[in-house]
């Protein structure tokens, strides 16, 4: 399922809304989540899961081709932890 498939499915469930509105809805949901994570915030959606940001320290890496050492900067990485309800539903299939 892609984002546009998701928009179609949600539009079917909410027939009173024009598709454009549903598009805006889905984009706003993911946009606000991206913004929260970009600001270092944690997200918790009950029954679905939570997202948090982990810090990765700067390290010295190596170019595997040339063997040359390169400095790799510190980064922030998003992580997802599945919620209990969804974990059980996925496992039950």
């Amino acid at each position: 399922m892609t984002k546009s498939d998701l928009i179609n499915e949600v539009a079917e469930q909410l027939p009173e809304l024009p598709r454009k509105q549903v598009e805006l809805l889905v984009n706003t949901v993911f946009g606000s989540m991206s913004d929260a994570l970009a600001g270092g915030d944690r997200i918790e959606v009950r029954g679905f899961g939570s997202f948090h940001v982990r810090q990765r320290a700067a390290r010295v890496g190596r170019n595997p081709k040339t063997g040359e050492e390169v400095q790799v900067a510190a980064t922030r990485v998003p992580f997802f932890r599945v919620g209990k309800e969804l974990r059980e539903r996925v496992n039950r299939g």
Partner: protein
């Protein structure tokens, strides 16, 4: 951020009432949950992919009693963030 905050931004950005916004956000997550429960993956461009993966049964150990137990075969959900999201988290790389 909780679901209430997501509802709030939907309410602010779109001309929905609070009740409509709450209902609409609920439908989005419920649709995602039933899709994933059916084993289908979801690819959200600009955010990331949610993928259901099968795990084989394996032998584990109760760390407290060191008793050997079989961990049954199961399906798990993994999230792979998109490059766009990873970049968004590292825009202000100076203040890390």
């Amino acid at each position: 951020m909780t679901k209430a905050d997501i509802i709030e931004s939907v309410y602010e950005k779109i001309g929905f009432s609070k009740k409509e916004a709450a209902e609409a956000v609920e439908v989005v997550f419920e649709t995602m949950k039933s899709t994933l429960a059916s084993g289908e993956k979801i690819k959200v461009s600009g955010f990331g992919n949610f993928v259901v993966r099968g795990k084989r049964a394996r032998v584990g150990r109760n760390p407290q009693t060191s008793e050997v137990i079989t961990i049954s075969e199961r399906k798990v959900l993994t999230f792979k963030p998109s490059q766009v999201l990873k970049d968004a988290l590292n825009q202000n790389s100076n203040d890390i």
